[in-house]
């Protein structure tokens, strides 16, 4: 007996030790040099090409790489050092190009991974890459990768590789449209050096680019895409949302939604109804990402308001058994200290979407952090021209987004769109999706389809599927209503009687008064 206890004690001690070691190991893996320096020449606001920077930052975040982004003008000597795993140079505006000599020198000396995106390569760069390049003007290229091809937009000029080093890898091919069809490598990797002729934020190019970068940084994974319905708000047409989730459930498509919430008025029927639909989604195998609100102004300089808002969101949703598994936001939230620390930081799963037209920073630090897993969101329509099938996978966790439909007609359109995608979707239950959201007051866990609140397993109650029936006006307070009505009537009658008596008195009094004079 005694022996047995001792044995189990030793075993459990060993287990604890093992898990500790394991834990430190995983922590070490994520913090161990996953920092990347991204230096770009210009945001190129004219062509709105900062979207490209945003897409690059998000894809790197999805690879688990922390990105420090610096415009070349702000680059200080010796910023790039051995603390960084790699450096990415991005030429976003050919006409500007790279002019910061400090950066060029530091980069030439740097021995980590180097990626060059765009034109105007320096001599050292081409030497290190071991290539010969040529500028091609006024061309329209076709990008080919495996069986896919995409017609690229007409480009003024593009730098292509005419001669590769031995043992170099190539990701995707660029070929001209002319009869003599010349072809050049698109993504090019030579050991720790890489080159991409450009970086855009959509289509096949985006997929090939991320594949190439993941390969260069040795972060290639195999992920099925997560079907995500975006632009869901508490003001969404709930009937449509409910039907859409029902459709996905019937088609056995696991899905996610990205929804905002409200921090006030949560006692209203409208909020009950909203959360009821979200509960239905949870019961139909959907997972919920809590989307960050829109930043209207930069007044919240210490993040207090945002912090408070998020706590209220999570508590008010959890009270209605709606448990978000992660937080979704536009990419720029990860580039802002205040925004990130008071929202994204609560969750270990993120879903980062393209920046909208309105980007308001509060305290931009361009120092993006990483989560356990962050999904790179791209619109499903951007893959329209890419061949897809059941075995299509992505190298980084990817969410294919579809905007929430409103009307019945739009719903049918979206349903057809989903049907025609013919993809094998990411299934959170099968693939052991396990996430946590921790705030000061609440801890939400999701594990293989189970929801745990503060460590306790929750059974999500089913809601009546007929929304209108469920939320029809109850007559629970009609008893008191009648009471007050009757009381009101009695009072009115009472006052009328008093009025009449008073009038009579006045009349009598007047007569008495006049009669005094008549005498």
């Amino acid at each position: 007996m005694n022996k047995r206890i001792k044995f189990s004690l030793v075993m459990s001690l060993m287990l604890i030790l093992f898990s500790l070691v394991n834990f430190t190991h995983t922590v070490g893996a994520t913090s161990n040099n996953n920092r990347v320096l991204l230096v770009y020449d210009s945001q190129n606001d004219v062509k709105n090409d900062k979207k490209n920077i945003d897409a690059l930052q998000r894809s790197l975040t999805s690879m688990g790489l922390q990105v420090k982004t610096i415009p070349q003008a702000d680059y200080k000597k010796n910023t790039l050092n051995e603390k960084y795993l790699g450096v990415i140079t991005m030429i976003n505006w050919r006409q500007v190009g790279l002019i910061n000599q400090d950066f060029i020198n530091d980069r030439d000396k740097f021995s980590g991974i180097k990626l060059y995106i765009g034109e105007n390569l320096t001599q050292t760069e081409t030497n290190q890459l071991g290539i010969k390049v040529q500028k091609v003007y006024q061309q329209q290229f076709i990008l080919k990768n495996d069986t896919n091809h995409e017609l690229l937009p007409f480009s003024q000029s593009i730098t292509v590789i005419t001669q590769q080093a031995e043992g170099a890898e190539q990701v995707g091919t660029l070929s001209t449209q002319q009869s003599d069809q010349k072809s050049y490598p698109f993504g090019y990797i030579n050991g720790k050096q890489g080159y991409l002729p450009f970086f855009t934020n959509k289509g096949l190019s985006l997929i090939v680019q991320t594949q190439m970068i993941a390969q260069l940084f040795n972060r290639v994974g195999k992920f099925r895409p997560l079907l995500t319905i975006t632009n869901v708000t508490p003001y969404t047409n709930l009937q449509t949302l409910d039907e859409l989730s029902k459709f996905c459930y019937r088609m056995e498509i696991p899905f996610a939604i990205s929804t905002t919430s409200v921090s006030e008025n949560t006692e209203m029927k409208a909020f009950d109804r909203f959360t009821a639909v979200l509960r239905n989604i949870e019961n139909r195998g959907g997972i919920i990402f809590l989307q960050t609100p829109e930043v209207s102004s930069g007044v919240d300089t210490d993040g207090q308001l945002l912090n408070q808002k998020f706590l209220t969101y999570i508590v008010s949703l959890a009270r209605q058994q709606v448990f978000p598994v992660g937080i979704s936001s536009a990419g720029f939230w990860n580039q802002d200290k205040i925004l990130r620390n008071n929202s994204l930081k609560y969750a270990d799963h993120w879903l980062l979407m393209q920046d909208g037209t309105k980007v308001t920073y509060i305290d931009q630090d361009n120092n993006s952090q990483v989560a356990k897993q962050s999904f790179f969101a791209m619109p499903a329509t951007s893959l329209n021209n890419v061949k897809k099938n059941n075995s299509t996978t992505f190298v980084i966790p990817t969410a294919l987004t579809i905007s929430m439909p409103y009307s019945q007609k739009e719903l049918e359109h979206v349903e057809n769109e989903i049907k025609n995608l013919h993809l094998s979707w990411y299934n959170p239950v099968e693939e052991g999706f396990s996430s946590e959201i921790n705030t000061e007051t609440t801890s939400l866990k999701y594990n293989h389809g189970d929801y745990l609140v503060n460590g306790k397993l929750e059974d999500i109650r089913n809601t009546n599927l007929n929304l209108n029936k469920q939320f029809s006006d109850g007559k629970s307070n009609s008893l008191f209503k009648n009471y007050f009505k009757v009381q009101g009537n009695i009072l009115a009658v009472f006052f009328v009687i008093i009025m009449v008596i008073l009038l009579i008195f006045i009349f009598i009094g007047q007569r008495v008064y006049w009669n005094r004079f008549k005498r």
């Binding site: 508490p234 003001y235 905002t260 008025n265 209203m268």
Partner: protein, 296 residues
């Protein structure tokens, strides 16, 4: 004199878009001028003046920019129709608007920090603001009179605020701190704010009272062919239309957003009427304007 009256009236009305409803009140005031003696030739001019005042009111109303119309349409919904009721979800649904928008209660068009959904977005415009036009608001309040009355009571609480607390009294370059206020009449203003009943029905009663009191002078003066009482009656009548209608227009037009600002002319009108009433009492001219004829 008459000319000056019309010029300053038009200036006052066109000064700010929210003064548009004043055109009606001043139109009423101007009717009094028609009763001036030896005035037949200029009666036409007065009529023209009234028409001009009304046109300036319409003009300034039409000149409101689409951005501000958007803000007003939104805030009259979020700060008006959704207030003073326990749960507006079903109520607005009866009016044909998605009940979910009830969650926008108390939200500003220009959100101060974070917004769940930007009120100036296309979605809100299409599914909410295109539906909740002026006619919708009127229909909604007609169907929810009790709520409307509560809102008017909210407005009535602000009716005495001669000195809105939220804004300063000095111009930017005057060297005073932002938000700093003058100290004149502060005691009077706070006393009135504390003891004046914050009920819209009371304001209406007061208006009826004033009009009734001055209509006696009006009647006597018509009989005696004096003009002072008539002129005064229309002035009071016009000021009382301000007291009665501006709260309604404010609530319908912009809900309780910037209420004190929108109502500013109500306390002015009330106090001016009160001043006139007191001076009439002290000069014994309330119902007897005989003495005035000599001076003119």
């Amino acid at each position: 004199m008459t000319f000056l009256f019309f010029i300053s009236t038009i200036l006052l009305i066109t000064n700010k878009q929210q003064n548009a409803p004043l055109a009606l009140s001043f139109g009423v005031v101007a009717i009094g001028i028609m009763f001036l003696p030896h005035f037949k030739a200029r009666r036409m001019a007065t009529a023209l003046g009234i028409i001009l005042v009304l046109i300036s009111g319409i003009g300034i109303y039409k000149s409101i920019g689409s951005e501000i119309v958007g803000a007003n349409t939104f805030q009259t919904f979020s700060h008006g129709t959704l207030l003073e009721t326990s749960d507006p979800t079903k109520k607005i649904e009866h009016g044909g608007v998605d009940g979910q928008f009830a969650l926008m209660r108390n939200e500003n068009y220009y959100s101060k920090n974070y917004a769940t959904l930007d009120p100036s977005s296309k979605y809100v415009k299409k599914h909410l603001m295109d539906k909740t036009g002026f006619a919708w608001i009127i229909r909604y309040y007609a169907g929810n009179l009790k709520q409307f009355n509560n809102l008017l009571d909210v407005a009535a609480k602000d009716v005495t605020a001669v000195q809105p607390r939220a804004v300063g009294d000095f111009v930017r370059n005057s060297g005073h701190k932002p938000g700093e206020q003058v100290k004149y009449f502060t005691v009077y203003s706070s006393l009135l704010g504390a003891f004046f009943p914050g009920k819209y029905a009371f304001d209406c009663l007061l208006a009826v009272g004033f009009i009734a009191v001055y209509s006696v002078g009006f009647y006597l003066d018509i009989k005696a062919k004096r003009y002072m009482g008539i002129l005064r009656f229309f002035l009071i009548f016009g000021l009382m239309t301000v007291v009665v209608f501006v709260p309604i227009v404010s609530i319908v037009g912009d809900g309780d957003a910037d209420l004190a600002k929108h109502l500013f002319l109500v306390p002015i009108s009330l106090n001016m009427s009160l001043l006139m009433f007191i001076s009439d009492l002290m000069n014994h001219t309330l119902w007897n304007t005989e003495g005035d004829e000599v001076s003119e």
